[in-house]
Symmetry: C2
Subunit: 144 residues, 2 copies
């Protein structure tokens, strides 16, 4: 029941991008240094965000990344689902073709759905902007 580093790093990455936007694209190397995360690992993570259109990239010298949209338009759920895969507590919650074959009236399904909905209700509500606001006053490198 853990969010892996991949999802957490993605959040930190996006918050970092949001905080440091304005003065041109932000290079991954800078983000990696500020967040103290391997830049090669971040590369893989941001490429997912890039392909999904969450960030835009500029190649070459003075290149880097920037957010495609304002921070309040990204929810934590969007980012985590992309990087973590599903947020469901077990296979078969959100899959149409449940392995057990009987989604209807199944105790397991009811329980899973409740957990899944509870998590979603949080992560789909909290935006990047919220994370930034909560973090204000604290120094920027606070770990998510």
């Amino acid at each position: 029941m853990r969010i892996s580093t991949k999802g957490r790093y993605a959040l930190r990455l996006m918050v970092d991008l949001a905080r440091n936007s304005g003065a041109g694209p932000v290079s991954l190397k800078d983000i990696a240094r500020r967040q103290d995360i391997s830049d090669k690992y971040l590369e893989q993570i941001i490429s997912v965000l890039n392909r999904a259109g969450y960030v835009r990239s500029l190649r070459g010298a003075q290149g880097g990344y920037f957010l495609q949209r304002p921070p309040e338009e990204y929810t934590v759920g969007m980012i985590l689902r992309l990087t973590e895969g599903s947020l469901a507590p077990a296979p078969c919650v959100d899959e149409a073709t449940a392995p057990c074959g009987r989604q209807e009236g199944c105790a397991a399904a009811v329980l899973r759905k409740k957990i899944s909905d509870a998590v979603s209700s949080v992560v789909d509500q909290v935006t990047l902007q919220d994370l930034m606001t909560w973090q204000n006053g604290i120094d920027s490198e606070c770990v998510i």
Copy 2:
């Protein structure tokens, strides 16, 4: 963000125990056969539940296990926390000594706590009895 088989098997095991209680202790072998789970693996799982006092055991021939308390006194949260470890979405949510050292006002901490609370609000509310009720009408081997 998954519940592992360990936690899920523990739930199935407990529901099975609850359903088959009344006629003396229930042997693990029977549970394993009904639930189609390796009995050796179940042994490890039930030993945790046993040490925690959630079930009682009787050794020797005609021995087995039975629930220590009525099904409505076990929550899903109790069982999952025991077998899965913490249900927190990341280290440092429920630990007093957060690795980042600054629990207060940290965006990460706020987010994690929200997720953790959301999950808890579900799993601490649902009891074994609920699972049994939801499962009524369905054949018993429905997989959690």
